[in-house]
């Protein structure tokens, strides 16, 4: 394994940028493949849903390749299996699912998936903090992502945020949705409270992310949800543009 030079490069470049000089994160701007981590509670679907939304947000239009969803046994038991009729429309018929027995097997499957040029992106779900998912394992995944250009979103269910080399690390919980137009009593389009607590290219920040089908929409947190769709002051425009 050739980890020597990138690791030292990573350590050197980190303090060079002060957080203020970095551009704020905004949806729809990710162009290169990225290793992201999403920490989420196991008792809700928000972790995998947000990972999927991020992957769709970064995907090119007209993407036809298959995508991989790897689950270890514990996350499968806690959070259930993917359900095809509930997947986002364009992704439904392209899913390949891997049910791994252990976290080691799941990590192996993730790395093999990242090395495959015929995959659009890879989603992993691993519960808690297994011993095998240490900094070295995370670093291997980051390198594979950068080398082969396949994005990885690793969902960590009920996990502590340990040491990792992921380029973006999010803490996610479900957020109340906007009431839909026709039935105000029904749950609306998915929304999440997302906390970007560590990122290489962006300063940390908190948003309410709303899934609008093919793209994400970011709103500042703690905004009272309007019953009518007003144009909100900071809408989807960045606060510090530039």
């Amino acid at each position: 394994m050739t980890v020597l030079t990138p690791l030292s490069a990573f350590a050197r470049t980190k303090p060079l940028h002060s957080p203020a000089s970095l551009p704020r994160w905004q949806p729809g701007r990710t162009t290169h493949a990225l290793h992201g981590e999403v920490f989420a509670p196991a008792g809700e679907g928000s972790g995998a849903a947000m990972a999927l939304a991020m992957a769709i947000d970064a995907a090119q239009a007209g993407e036809e390749r298959a995508w991989l969803w790897v689950q270890d046994e514990r996350s499968l038991k806690l959070g259930g299996r993917p359900y095809r009729p509930g997947l986002p429309g364009p992704l439904r018929d392209r899913l390949i699912h891997v049910a791994a027995k252990s976290a080691e097997d799941a990590l192996f499957a993730l790395e093999e998936g990242l090395r495959c040029r015929d995959l659009a992106f890879v989603i992993g779900e691993i519960a808690a903090n297994p011993r095998s998912l240490n900094f070295t394992a995370a670093r291997r995944l980051s390198l594979a992502v950068e080398r082969h250009g396949v994005p990885l979103w690793l969902v960590r269910l009920d996990a502590q945020s340990d040491l990792s080399s992921a380029r973006q690390r999010w803490q996610v919980r479900a957020a109340p949705s906007r009431p839909p137009h026709w039935n105000a009593a029904a749950p609306g389009a998915p929304a999440w409270q997302a906390d970007l607590f560590r990122a290489r290219a962006h300063p940390p920040g908190k948003w309410i992310l709303r899934d609008e089908g093919t793209r994400l929409r970011a709103e500042p947190p703690h905004q009272p949800s309007h019953s009518v769709d007003l144009v909100s002051s900071a809408g989807d425009r960045p606060l510090a543009a530039g």
């Binding site: 679907g45 009729p85 891997v98 093999e112 015929d118 082969h148 109340p176």
Partner: protein, 454 residues
């Protein structure tokens, strides 16, 4: 004295008789193991109880340097095992049996040879039929085919069993009638092997042999414009065991490095014992593969692997059942609306889901019961407890009533009322009530959590 005499009668004639107990079950088990081992001389072997083996050597003799050399090799190996054998080699199983039992030692039947001089007992007939033939004065096989044939056809017209009808046996012997023992057609699947000067016991050497075999196989397959879907690696050990490793590929391939890599993952638990003396790689299932593929391993470093290679690698380590794809099924019961199929299987035509059915992103393998507080038996609960946490229902949509599939389920299965709900903190779930109060199919309806929404 002849076979079948009572032991007491035999002892009366010869009191010093040495007695060994028979063990028919053990003999048969040994014969089965020997048949497996005997596949070293051909890809296909069958038992001929109580004391015979049939090996199909079609297309194999050249690996041993000719048919005579093959028989010599077989005689040497079997003698080394401490067995007394009689060998015969012929185009049909019946002729080989006749040669082995009544022919000269290590006989090989060539096209111009005749079996007419063998006794009729060489036809594998039962004793009653042999008695009839002896009384008719027919002693040699050649005598059956002349004038006697019409008379015999009349005499045995009602016997269908081959062992009781000499004419059927005769036709089997000459290959005029197919015999179910034989393969219907000569299945010549690609087969390469390495016979080793010294038995090998170390993994590094075995990997070398495996790589050579894979390259031979790749060359053979390339010549046939085929790719392997299933491969079998058999290793003959000195102590008589033959471990076999099987491999299935998601798509036809003849990439030697890829195949060797997949096999090497399956050899970790191999016990070489006293050594491996013969390694053979065969491809029982091949598919046409016209285009030539590049080198998987080197290309993988630069451009990544192909999807089929990725699935092969995942399947080789995690088991084939771990890598699957959901496929739609025509059923309105949620857990039956999808099934899991191999990842590269083409999708069948199924009516698509209705757009206005909102379904959860993930489905629990088994619906989990939730404890509810409800206003009325038919209404929606205000609050429920799931996995120890209390959820207030803030918004809900439903019910969506899903009836059981009466044509495949028992009459006591209850209908379900599904609700899509959001709790006070924004968590979205898919819950259902199993049955309605007073439907006569059980007590009070229970509530279950089935899916987690995005």
């Amino acid at each position: 004295m002849h076979a079948g005499v009572l032991l007491a009668d035999a002892r009366a004639l010869c009191p010093e008789l040495a007695v060994a107990l028979g063990d028919p079950g053990g003999d048969l088990a040994f014969l089965e193991r020997l048949a497996l081992w005997a596949r070293r001389w051909g890809p296909w072997a069958a038992l001929d109880p109580p004391d015979g083996l049939i090996v199909d050597t079609t297309g194999v003799a050249h690996l041993f340097g000719g048919e005579a050399a093959l028989l010599d090799d077989a005689a040497t190996r079997l003698a080394a095992c401490g067995l007394t054998v009689r060998l015969g080699l012929a185009p049909t199983a019946g002729a080989a049996w006749a040669l082995a039992h009544y022919g000269p030692e290590r006989a090989i039947l060539h096209p111009q040879d005749s079996l007419d001089n063998l006794p009729v007992a060489a036809l594998r007939l039962d004793p009653a039929t042999l008695l009839v033939l002896r009384r008719l004065g027919l002693k040699r096989i050649g005598e059956l085919s002349g004038v006697a044939r019409d008379a015999l056809a009349r005499r045995f017209r009602n016997t269908r069993a081959p062992a009781a009808n000499p004419l059927i046996r005769l036709d089997q012997l000459l290959g005029r009638v197919p015999e179910p023992l034989l393969p219907v057609m000569a299945a010549e699947f690609p087969l390469v092997q390495r016979r080793l000067m010294e038995p090998i016991r170390h993994r590094s050497l075995l990997d070398r042999v495996l790589a050579d075999l894979c390259e031979d196989m790749a060359r053979l397959l390339e010549g046939r414009a085929e790719g392997a879907r299933r491969l079998e690696l058999a290793l003959w050990k000195v102590d008589g065991e033959v471990p076999v490793r099987k491999l299935e590929l998601a798509a036809a391939s003849r990439d030697a490095a890829h195949i060797a890599r997949l096999f090497s993952g399956k050899l970790d638990d191999l016990d070489a014992g006293f050594g491996i003396e013969l390694a053979r790689l065969s491809a029982p299932w091949t598919e046409p593969l016209a285009l030539s593929q590049g080198d998987f391993e080197r290309a993988a470093e630069a451009h990544g692997t192909s999807l089929a290679a990725c699935i092969d690698r995942l399947g080789a380590r995690l088991g084939a059942g771990a890598v699957r794809r959901p496929a739609p099924v025509a059923s309105h019961v949620p857990e039956r609306a999808q099934r899991w199929v191999p990842p590269l299987e083409p999708e069948g035509a199924v009516q698509s889901e209705l757009v206005f059915h909102a379904r959860p992103l993930k489905l629990l393998d088994r619906p989990e019961p939730i404890a509810v507080l409800y206003a009325s038996p038919d209404g929606l609960p205000r609050r429920f407890r799931w996995r120890g946490a209390v959820h207030e229902i803030a918004r809900a949509e439903g019910p969506e009533r899903i009836a059981p599939e009466w044509w495949r389920e028992r009459g006591t299965v209850r209908l379900r009322d599904y609700y899509r709900i959001e709790d006070g903190e924004g968590r979205r779930y898919w819950i259902y009530r199993n049955g309605i109060d007073g439907d006569g199919r059980g007590g009070m309806p229970e509530w279950f959590m089935q899916g987690l929404c995005a």
